[in-house]
């Protein structure tokens, strides 16, 4: 069927383009062929030896671990608290959370607040501002509200305290929601590069996405400069030396890709489930 062929074109496009180019990194300059004649992994050696890349990975991994745990903890706590209709003030609280969903602050005031909070240029800028998310809170709330109330009542009859109920009854049942939302959040953290661009200029705190971004855009920014457009010979040697070669660039791309590719097959199902939970139940 034609439709099947069309649908399969998409994957082939990117698989081919990435896998070939980095491996062809050290083929002779003359244009990269789709299938390389010579293969060398030297670019990989250079890239992996670079402290920047390793550091980038560390930062990203740390960010995912800390950021996601914090986000889940904060949002599930709020979701649980708000799922109890009998809690005085819960109506107001829900409206407050909804407010944050509707009224997203502008970049400038937000930046100024982050600055005043002392988070600028620190690791915490990655994890604290995004710890509370209205969407996650509502999904958790929905989930907790749908748990059968008998469980809680039975536990109360047995003399359990609120804390007991939370830890022993509710949490063990919440695996799926935590997993789904946690995955979303983790992927978001891993792929996010704007936060570092705006709030964290410190070169030691760059996540891998930013390292990649820097490596890739240097070239186009230089190429776009008016001088170069008119007369390439005007460009100083030092500027040329700063542009990573395409080979290096592509190697960094592949290196950034690998974690996602490794994790993806394993977690696919959960991604989809998570997406559907949020969307359909609203």
């Amino acid at each position: 069927m034609i439709s099947v062929a069309l649908v399969c074109l998409l994957p082939c496009l990117y698989v081919v383009s990435i896998s070939i180019t980095p491996y062809a990194a050290l083929s002779l300059e003359g244009g990269y062929a789709l299938i390389p004649k010579h293969v060398s992994l030297e670019a990989y050696r250079t890239v992996l030896a670079s402290g920047e890349i390793v550091n980038g990975f560390l930062v990203s991994v740390l960010r995912v671990l800390v950021g996601t745990s914090l986000h889940l903890a904060v949002c599930s706590a709020a979701g649980y608290a708000l799922s109890k209709r009998y809690l005085p003030g819960s109506g107001l609280f829900i409206k407050l959370v909804l407010f944050t969903f509707l009224f997203v602050p502008g970049l400038i005031p937000y930046y100024l607040v982050v600055r005043s909070a002392g988070l600028l240029n620190t690791f915490w800028a990655y994890v604290i501002p995004s710890a509370a998310g209205a969407w996650s809170i509502f999904v958790f709330r929905q989930f907790f509200m749908e748990l059968p109330p008998d469980l809680e009542e039975a536990a109360r009859l047995d003399g359990a305290t609120e804390l007991d109920i939370l830890v022993r009854v509710i949490l063990p049942l919440s695996g799926p929601v935590y997993a789904a939302l946690g995955l979303f959040n983790a992927v978001g953290h891993w792929n996010d590069y704007m936060t570092a661009v705006i709030y964290v200029p410190n070169p030691d705190l760059q996540p891998i996405a930013n390292v990649l971004q820097k490596v890739l855009t240097q070239q186009s920014r230089v190429m776009a400069s008016p001088d170069l457009q008119l007369d390439p010979s005007k460009l100083s040697i030092s500027a040329w030396e700063q542009i990573p070669s395409l080979g290096i660039q592509m190697t960094v791309v592949v290196v950034s890709l690998i974690p996602i590719l490794l994790v993806y097959p394993v977690l696919q199902k959960h991604f989809v489930k998570g997406m559907l939970t949020g969307a359909i139940k609203g």
Partner: protein, 327 residues
């Protein structure tokens, strides 16, 4: 003991607390706090975060818009300038360009990007083999999980002027392609094509779920009646997913002023500002890089107000035409 006479789940809990005098109210609040301390404690971090990172910036927006903000003086000591910022905003030549770009790009995204996931979902749904279906799905929504820098890297590999795969191919065919990375004419299409490629698989998931909800008996009955595949699509499939489609369409309208900051920031360059600079990137440059806080906040404020109106309208429209909204 209260524990054994559980009154959980009944709103009469509050009524059972004594409120006989003025002092009783404070006492009542104390009792409530004590009884539900855990729940309040659980909500406290969120409350603090909301206040600091949402209410505070929102409140600051007003003085920032109407004052000329000097970083060193802080907000209180900066002078009021009334509508000067807003005036500068609406008369700025950049603003017209930026607003136009934002809307044009958003509309392009909507018009070209809305239908591919639907088409993909319908195609996939009809695929016979369950295995092919799953493989196709996994492969098509993989790009959604790539960060934009990675996507940009792929774009570079394909069309960078020195040795991009596609460029080399075109050259070998005898064409002399221009530098597509900084080309004004190609910028918006590039943006849209890559965005579609990235999101089509993921977007299809929702539609596939909706398609799965259509009873197969309808299809069988139609085939028995002699319907061709295109009949089936028009008369069964499309009407079957109409609610989801309408809902998502109306909601997309609400996001029309956000044309994809992350992507544009990565793809654009000074040479393509005239076609690619959107509200968010302009605010970023003028506001943060040039420290023109008043102007940038005014723009942000303008965007938030319009965005708010749009989402309220979109929700109402969604409820009316699709039967449900986001809330």
């Amino acid at each position: 003991m209260l524990k054994n006479r559980s009154v959980v789940g009944k709103s009469s809990t509050i009524a059972s607390v004594p409120l006989c005098k003025q002092q009783g109210t404070t006492h009542a609040i104390g009792v409530i706090l004590q009884k539900y301390w855990l729940l309040y404690a659980l909500f406290a971090p969120t409350l603090a975060l909301i206040i600091v990172f949402n209410f505070l910036p929102n409140l600051m927006t007003v003085p920032l818009v109407f004052k000329k903000y000097y970083l060193l003086r802080g907000i209180w000591d900066s002078p009021w300038v009334g509508l000067a910022n807003l005036e500068a905003l609406f008369t700025s030549p950049d603003f017209g360009i930026v607003l136009r770009n934002t809307i044009v790009i958003s509309v392009y995204r909507l018009v070209f990007g809305f239908f591919p996931p639907i088409i993909l979902a319908i195609l996939t749904h009809d695929l016979l083999s369950h295995r092919i279906k799953r493989i196709t799905q996994s492969v098509t929504y993989l790009p959604h999980f790539l960060s934009w820098p990675i996507v940009y890297g792929i774009v570079l590999a394909l069309i960078n002027p020195a040795n991009g795969v596609i460029i080399t191919f075109l050259r070998n065919m005898g064409f002399t392609p221009e530098n597509l990375l900084v080309s004004e004419t190609f910028f918006r299409p590039l943006l849209i094509i890559t965005a579609i490629w990235k999101e089509v698989g993921w977007g299809a998931i929702i539609y596939l779920a909706a398609l799965a909800g259509i009873e197969p008996e309808l299809y069988e009955a139609a085939t028995v009646d002699g319907a061709e595949w295109y009949h089936r699509i028009f008369y069964i499939t499309l009407p079957g997913i109409k609610p989801v489609v309408t809902l998502l369409l109306t909601l997309s309208l609400a996001g029309i002023l956000s044309a994809g900051f992350e992507q544009v920031y990565l793809f654009y360059s000074p040479l393509t500002y005239s076609v690619g600079d959107i509200i968010d990137t302009w605010v970023y440059r003028r506001g943060l890089l040039s420290a023109d806080f008043g102007l940038a906040t005014a723009v942000g404020f303008f965007k938030s107000v319009i965005g708010f109106l749009l989402i309220i309208t979109a929700n109402k429209l969604a409820k009316r035409y699709a039967g449900q909204g986001i809330w």
